[in-house]
Amino acid sequence: MSKQMTGAEMVVTALKDQGVETIFGYPGGAVLPIYDALFQQDFVQHVLVRHEQGAAHAAEGYARSSGKVGVLLVTSGPGATNAITGLADALMDSIPLVCITGQVPTHLIGSDAFQECDTVGITRHCTKHNYLVRSIEDLPRILHEAFYVASHGRPGPVVIDIPKDIQFAAGLYTGPQNIQHKTYQPQVKGDLARIREAVAMMAAAKRPVFYTGGGVINSGPEASALLRELVQLTGFPITSTLMGLGSYPASGENWLGMLGMHGTYEANHAMHDCDLMIAVGARFDDRITGRLDAFSPGSKKIHIDIDPSSINKTVKVDLSIIGDCAHVLEDLVRIWRTQAAQVDKPALAQWWKQIDVWRARKSLAYRPSTTTIKPQYAIQRLYELTKNRDTYITTEVGQHQMWAAQHYHFEEPNRWMTSGGLGTMGYGLPAAVGVQMAHPKALVIDIAGEASILMNMQEMSTALQYRLPVKIFILNNEYMGMVRQWQQLLHGARYSSSYSEALPDFVKLAEAYGGHGIRCSDPAKLDDAIMEMIETPKAVIFDCLVEKEENCFPMIPSGKAHNEMILAELGDDAGVEIGSIIDERGKLLV
């Protein structure tokens, strides 16, 4: 179907043809024609954010919870630069976004015009791909190609920069059906000979472990289902990165908990001592591996990933399988079944026995209190009171994020939205707005810190405007907790600028925005307060006053190996000089 229309109309028509029902954005001079086209239709709903960074994170939350491409629309210059943190975040976490930016008219490009910036130049390093539209003839193709590139292969953000004169120009629109990308055709099916080799390695393994990541979530719900089937078939233990939580249920027997810097003792020790590691959609991030030259020294490694550049990037693997997780897992399960492959049962039983010894250390334990709310306790109660509801969790970045990952247990994929790779404070509230737009009836909770939440606090206004009943659950310890923890570990407890001074009254702040505020500092009253939050049918800020100097354990200190992790009892023990745990080499690391 071809039709004559303006560039602005093409943008809106293409969104409709791509099935986009919700976009997040903020108007400005260079996108006025597109906003005018939006005004004259009602298929695509536009959500007005209060800052363009919020639009990007909201689109991420929408994408991660729904499996669709997230879309944002911002103006030129500051509109585009404000969105950049969100684009970089989506690139690191492989989230499919299409970001449409307005640009000054073609004839003004390069003249330092008002609100001009080199958007494609600036975003080149924080997008999967970007386009500057130079003629109206290219616009329909670019619009559809952008959705294809964002969602195919390893997903990521794509920017389309559209000068204002192109938005006004008239041309012939063509639909998405004839878009065939000439260069970008990622391989989704894994090599069968390699998959058979993987089956043989798995059958021969004595101490295997599955190490799964965000790639399983990105691959869609069928990938998670296949992963569960494979774990069931083999009986192997499984751990996951922060990004992969929910692909295997936390209540599953084979679940070891999250691994990595704040992962469980059993997960990290299993990684260190295994003889076969099966990495699925995970990328051996430094938060996972700890010290690289001591990373899982005795294991063979299988790496399944859609991105060939992830293979051998930091850790050398023995068998790589390039392909989409769902496709590769499907073949893996099928071949395992048709070959009637058998695991080494006695060895596996021995391995589980060892894992149970590690589990018995109860690495997530903490010293309870009847007088102050322990942050871990707050998350545990939040979990218990929301687990039987249709709940989605987002987070900001810091201690609260790690406690949420440790103590909130995810049964399904796409229920957990957190900034993993970039570690963006201020992610959680706009992401929750995006999630709530995708799931209007669900319970959406942003587990936050009092410092992070202030970074994008303005999005509370968006939540109220669209009657989004998002819940902001602040673990308020009056510190940038993770910064304070590192200062304690590395810098002699000199808390340079990490105390949250001059905090607002969050209850009054909630009320000022038109929401509901709750404060709780008594463990005995916590359950009732959480229930009040859940039952309030509008946006809530819950100011949960927690233990101020609680540290997040267990922890692999920087520059240490998996089997050198420290547990809470050591960290809390007054006899141990906590500042001595990280050595000189570790201090250089982030």
Partner: protein, 183 residues
């Protein structure tokens, strides 16, 4: 291009400890605005080396350009460079000509030499030995044009230095595989 004299990275692994190699990569790309910036930006952003880079359109009808990059690093890093380049959307194909072997590499240089008397005839004698052509001459200078492998140009430049080397302009390496097949 030696490793910097900083202490070893605490994250150091088996990767990146092997010998530094020099490889020539041939990259076929869509000739669209910004494609060279993407390629060069990838090298600077990820800390890879560029020793030489040439680019020109090679198939006008199809808007295809060929970029030839000489890079150096441990073999694992060079493998990464290849994969990272393949991730760029406008890239059609990346070939490591050093790995496929038997490739031809040529570079063109223009070399300006100043001198009088015996120096002039010495310069001409050497130019003849190297098959360099005189493309400009004045009473006290020559500009030579020389095509060849990069090390041949290096040696010619070194020989001209004592005679009166003024300046050099080089194109960078272009490379192609031997035999009938394309890359």
């Amino acid at each position: 291009m030696n490793a910097p004299a900083t202490p070893p990275s605490p994250y150091s692994s088996a990767l990146g400890k092997s010998n530094i190699e020099r490889h020539t990569l041939s990259v076929l790309v869509d000739n669209e605005p910004g494609v060279l910036a993407r390629v060069v930006g990838l090298f600077s952003g990820r800390g890879y080396n560029i020793e030489s880079l040439t680019v020109a359109e090679v198939a006008h009808g199809e808007h295809l350009s060929r970029i030839t990059i000489v890079t150096s690093g441990p073999p694992e890093a060079i493998e990464q460079v290849g994969h990272q380049l393949e991730r760029l959307v406008p890239v059609h194909a990346v070939t490591d000509l050093t790995l496929t072997g038997k490739s031809l590499e040529r570079e063109l240089a223009m070399i300006k030499v100043r001198g009088r008397g015996e120096d002039r005839s010495e310069a001409l004698r050497l130019a003849e030995a190297f098959r360099a052509r005189v493309i400009d001459a004045s009473t006290e200078s020559f500009v030579f044009e020389l095509t060849g492998a990069a090390d041949k140009i290096d040696s010619f430049v070194e020989l001209m230095r004592p005679i009166g080397l003024v300046e050099v302009s080089r194109t960078g390496v272009a490379a192609i595989s031997r035999g009938p097949a394309p890359i």
